[in-house]
């Protein structure tokens, strides 16, 4: 039985790594990219889509009971929940 917040912590670590690499990528693009509409468009699209995914995930985290424990052995067949 693993509490849901363990998965949220793991997700936050992955998110931290993503944000770090994303910041460096955007910085490189804006520093060395050609002053052109496509440079701005791709950067805005990348940041915007990433923000949508993160906000959507946070919305789900906000509405979940993080103390719920999941039985991973049976989750793909018959999930067992205890609060």
């Amino acid at each position: 039985m693993i509490p849901v917040y363990y998965f949220v912590i793991a997700w936050l670590i992955f998110l931290g790594v993503f944000v770090l690499i994303a910041l460096v990528s955007v910085m490189q693009m804006l520093r060395f990219g050609l002053a052109h509409w496509l440079t701005y468009f791709t950067t805005v699209a990348f940041v915007g889509l990433s923000a949508i995914i993160i906000v959507f995930s946070l919305y789900w985290i906000g509405h979940a009971n993080l103390l719920t424990e999941l039985n991973l052995n049976s989750i793909f067949g018959n999930p067992t929940m205890t609060s």
């Binding site: 849901v4 490189q28 060395f32 791709t42 990348f46 985290i61 989750i75 793909f76 999930p79």
Partner: protein, 206 residues
């Protein structure tokens, strides 16, 4: 940010003749793979819905799917962005005085090199392969005086036209910088094998 009106180390009266990148078809395969990666979580979600798996039965177990799918999507998006960055930041700029070669290797490695046009000795355009011939893109090799390494424009559109333009520009620049061009020629001559040098000398003798 790189501005064409303000090139690195811009010389007075320097004008941009052309700016080249790899043909967009070269990143098409990569973008298609990325598209599959991005659509994959949605496909898995649809599959789970169709087979009515209990994974999405409660909000808490559904949260795992959202978290896993979300992080997968984020990294797939980053893969696409970095692939585009790698393509977009590789640029070759030809001005009336020099050629600037800007290459991005990954996220943290960047090479900027330039050569003066009067040093250009030989320009070769190479179009090999079905796709390259159909869409007219390929390599342009620029051999410079006194240097072993060649400048290569990789997978640029219309390589034959570019090579002709570079050759013409080099000719004009050589006329304008005759002294420097002669020095570059002598430098190349010094690098030649002694036998070749001797034969060339013999030919020049009356």
């Amino acid at each position: 940010m790189l501005r064409l009106t303000n090139l690195p180390g811009q010389l007075p009266d320097e004008k941009i003749i052309g700016m080249y990148r790899r043909h967009p078809i070269t990143i098409l395969g990569l973008l298609l793979a990325a598209l599959v990666l991005i659509l994959l979580p949605f496909g898995v979600y649809a599959y789970i819905k169709i087979i009515e798996s209990p994974v999405l039965a409660t909000p808490d177990s559904g949260l795992l799917v959202i978290l896993g799918g979300g992080i997968f999507l984020l990294f797939a998006l980053m893969f696409v962005y970095q692939s585009f960055l790698d393509y977009w930041l590789d640029t070759w700029i030809v001005t009336n005085f020099r050629i600037i070669n800007i290459e991005q290797h990954g996220l943290f490695s960047r090479t900027v090199s330039e050569l003066r046009l009067y040093r250009v000795q030989d320009v070769t355009a190479d179009v090999t392969g079905f796709m390259h011939s159909m869409l007219d893109f390929g390599q342009v090799y620029i051999q410079t005086a006194g240097e072993q390494e060649r400048f290569v424009f990789e997978d640029v559109p219309h390589p034959n036209k570019i090579s002709k333009d570079v050759m013409n520009l080099a000719e004009q620049d050589r006329k304008a910088h005759l002294d420097e061009a002669m020095e570059a020629m002598e430098e190349t001559h010094e690098n030649l094998h002694p036998d070749i040098k001797e034969r060339a000398q013999r030919r020049l003798e009356p």
